[in-house]
């Protein structure tokens, strides 16, 4: 479903991703872990198409197409969903209104008829229950005055309504207490399906206690330094990111020495 080859990305002319490769197939859940500043969120934003993230090399193919050629809203309509680390407030716009506008934009794109208010409400109410959310939240302005936990749940609610093919969850676990984390994890687990892929971007292994990934990748210095099965997360938790970073730096030095030697 998603193939990333040799991806280099700069932000404000600063290289953040430096040759990242990743392949995600339908039905898989991948966890991207790594220390602060390793480029995890950059990867999430590049996939969603945020401005200011400049791809200088490499390619991203999604469902066989060149993802980088698509505008953010086109990516969303093609089934990419980003759950924000910091969901944005939009004063005066009711939560339910944004949801409906989003869903209908996608339905139009797929050539389906738009849902009317009644059908839409029925759909959303079902999803609300899944996320253990109060209906009143639908009528409040988007994320305005929401607690940290409410914001994160609201992101997953949007995901549940929009039913993406590829969901990217950017630090969805940060700022959640254990009860909220369980609710969010339940919501995510309920959405796992053979047609859907997910990328969980997280700093801590905690989330992975509740959502068991198929693959775990460790990002360090702008590339995937280490990949493995679900147990890798536990190793990391024990040994810390310093272990990976030290190892990556050593590797880089070895490569550097080798190429210097080759030149001499």
């Amino acid at each position: 479903m998603l193939e990333i080859r040799n991806l280099h990305v700069t932000v404000d002319d600063k290289p953040i991703l430096r040759g990242l490769d990743l392949e995600v197939r339908a039905g898989e859940v991948h966890a991207i872990m790594g220390p602060n500043g390793s480029g995890k969120s950059t990867l999430a934003h590049v996939l969603a198409g945020r401005e200011g993230y400049v791809v200088t090399q490499g390619e991203i193919r999604y469902m066989g197409r060149d993802l980088l050629a698509l505008a953010p809203e086109e990516r969303a309509r093609e089934g990419i969903f980003l759950a924000f680390q910091y969901p944005v407030e939009i004063p005066g716009v009711a939560n339910i209104y944004l949801l409906k506008a989003a869903l209908n934009a996608m339905r139009r794109h797929r050539g389906e008829s738009e849902l009317d208010a009644v059908d839409f409400l029925a759909l959303v109410k079902g999803k609300l229950k899944l996320m253990d959310m109060d209906e009143a939240l639908l009528y409040r302005a988007v994320n305005e005055g929401f607690s940290g936990g409410e914001k994160k749940r609201n992101e997953i609610l949007q995901m549940a309504v929009l039913e993406p093919r590829l969901a990217i969850l950017d630090e969805t676990d940060s700022g959640l207490d254990i009860d909220a984390l369980k609710v969010v994890a339940n919501g995510v687990n309920a959405m796992r399906s053979p047609e859907r892929a997910m990328i969980l971007v997280t700093h801590y292994q905690r989330l992975l206690d509740y959502i068991r990934p198929d693959r775990v990748h460790v990002l360090a210095l702008g590339r995937i330094a280490l990949s493995g099965g679900p147990d890798l997360a536990q190793d990391l938790e024990r040994r810390g990111y310093g272990w990976v970073e030290g190892w990556v730096q050593a590797e880089a030095q070895k490569r550097h020495a080798a190429s210097a030697g080759g030149a001499g």
């Binding site: 198409g49 953010p72 809203e73 924000f84 005066g92 209104y97 944004l98």
Partner: protein
């Protein structure tokens, strides 16, 4: 009454039968302004002597005045001797012959707003055979309103049929000496609307459809007078969301509202005159004087306006809170895009005891647009316990537009409470990206965010109008991003 809902296409298929336009001759008076021109206008309208006298007094006073330049708007000098101050309704010979001759940009806008086909021709000024008239609606409405003693007619009709009311109230809120443009209007006004609600009567319908259809050809100097007698209520809608083509660049209207004891007047406007093109060429100068007088105790006047049109808007719908416990409200959305300029706001003049006023102003600037809120809250010595709350918010799109806020506060009574809050924000890239990442296009996202910003004001509009106004904002903001 069990009447069918009024269909616009049904209306426009009506033959033109009668109405106040027919009393006018087809010839226009010569360019420029003089006592003779005013005498001619008055004679053509067969006005009683008091009207002519009033016009002449206004004209003589106008000669002593100079054009005001204190607003933050800029325009080339206006040559008042180049304007034709009176012209009869346009005949078939003028204007475009068909929609094919009309600016495609304008047609595209009608399309987006969902204006019915036949109505587009009228709005675009196409000379059509079946003259678009409101006779049938007017008759239906008038019967119903007549039963309640409500008078609702054109200003000219009122001058003929209700001269006593006109004489009593005309100029009693906006005197002919008021300001340069109001004085000019007093001298030359062509027509407008008149409305009188008798004591204790609640007007059963929004006075809208009739007016919106009738608004055509009321010309550049329009005059409206609304009187709500003791305990009466009326909600009045002015304007139209569809942009109207008009060859007159200067519009100087006057609106006077009078609320007597316990009466309530709600006045809503959607103003969408031609704003000029993307480079700022053309467009209407909209210099309007609107004022309401809460003349007696427990009365209430509220203004709600959505201003998206005109090259220049200069307008301060105000309330004089004379009666004790009277209430004044002003809710405004003003949007300027491309090279539009708006200097708008309100004046709340507290004279009576325990008078209350609320001001809620939302300014949106995009492109090179300039948007100023200018408001005066004045509490006189007599106004014990007066209260005002003002909230002024500005939203900026892009980095070439401007927003200004000029609040003037004068308080002469120590028991008064006056609060002012202001904010300026920019549509954030993060808000746009958030919406886009949910599949919503950047343009739709802008109009979503803007309508959220304006929500509190839209809530004041009658339902149907609110929906149209929201659509209108979206269309007016096209091309403002990217």
């Amino acid at each position: 009454m069990g009447k069918r809902p009024v269909q616009l296409d049904e209306l426009i298929s009506q033959e033109y039968r009668h109405g106040f336009y027919t009393t006018l001759d087809a010839d226009a008076v010569p360019r420029g302004l003089s006592e003779d021109v005013i005498r001619t206008i008055s004679a053509k309208k067969q006005e009683p002597a008091f009207m002519l006298e009033w016009r002449l007094k206004a004209f003589r006073h106008w000669l002593t005045m100079t054009e005001p330049h204190w607003a933050t708007v800029h325009h080339p000098p206006i040559d008042y001797q180049e304007i034709v101050y009176y012209s009869a309704p346009r005949g078939k010979a003028d204007g475009p012959k068909s929609l094919a001759e009309v600016d495609p940009e304008l047609l595209r806008t009608y399309e987006k707003l969902g204006v019915p086909l036949q109505e587009r021709e009228l709005l675009a000024g196409v000379a059509v055979d079946a003259v678009f008239d409101s006779v049938s609606v007017a008759t239906t409405f008038k019967e119903k309103l007549g039963e309640l003693g409500i008078i609702f007619c054109s200003f000219s009709e009122a001058v003929h049929n209700h001269p006593d009311l006109v004489q009593e109230y005309l100029g009693s809120v906006v005197p002919y000496t008021d300001n340069f443009f109001a004085t000019l209007n007093s001298a030359v006004f062509s027509d407008g609307s008149f409305c009188y609600i008798p004591p204790g009567v609640r007007c059963p319908m929004e006075l809208s459809t009739y007016f919106r259809i009738n608004a055509r050809n009321t010309g550049q100097f329009e005059r409206t007078l609304i009187i709500a007698d003791r305990g009466a209520y009326v909600s009045y809608l002015e304007g139209c969301t569809a942009p109207m083509r008009d060859e007159n660049q200067l519009h100087a209207a006057v609106v006077e509202l009078i609320a007597r004891e316990g009466a309530q007047i709600k006045y809503s406007t959607v103003q969408n005159w031609y704003p000029g093109d993307k480079d700022g060429k053309g467009g209407i100068y909209n210099f309007v004087t609107k004022r309401g007088d809460c003349r007696e105790a427990n009365s209430k006047i509220s203004w709600t306006q959505v201003e998206t049109g005109s090259a220049i808007t200069w307008k301060y719908p105000s309330v004089i809170l004379r009666g004790d416990n009277s209430v004044g409200e002003f809710h405004s959305v003003a949007l300027t895009n491309h090279w539009q300029q708006a200097d708008t706001g309100t004046k709340m003049i507290h004279l009576g005891r325990n008078t209350k006023s609320t001001i809620l102003s939302k300014g949106i600037s995009a492109g090179h647009g300039s948007n100023a809120y200018r408001g005066l809250v004045k509490v006189a010595k007599s106004a014990d316990g007066a209260r005002n709350y003002t909230q002024c918010d500005s939203l900026l799109l892009g980095d070439r537009c401007a927003a200004h806020t000029f609040p003037y506060i004068e308080v002469k009574n120590p028991t008064a409470r006056v609060e002012h809050e202001a904010s300026t924000s920019r549509i954030g890239e993060d808000q746009l990206f958030y919406c886009q990442s949910r599949g919503i296009s950047a343009e739709d996202a802008v109009s979503l965010i803007v309508s959220g910003f304006c929500k509190e004001v839209f809530r004041q509009l009658p339902m149907e109008f609110a929906v149209e106004a929201q659509k209108l904002l979206g269309v007016s903001l096209e091309g403002s991003i990217g």
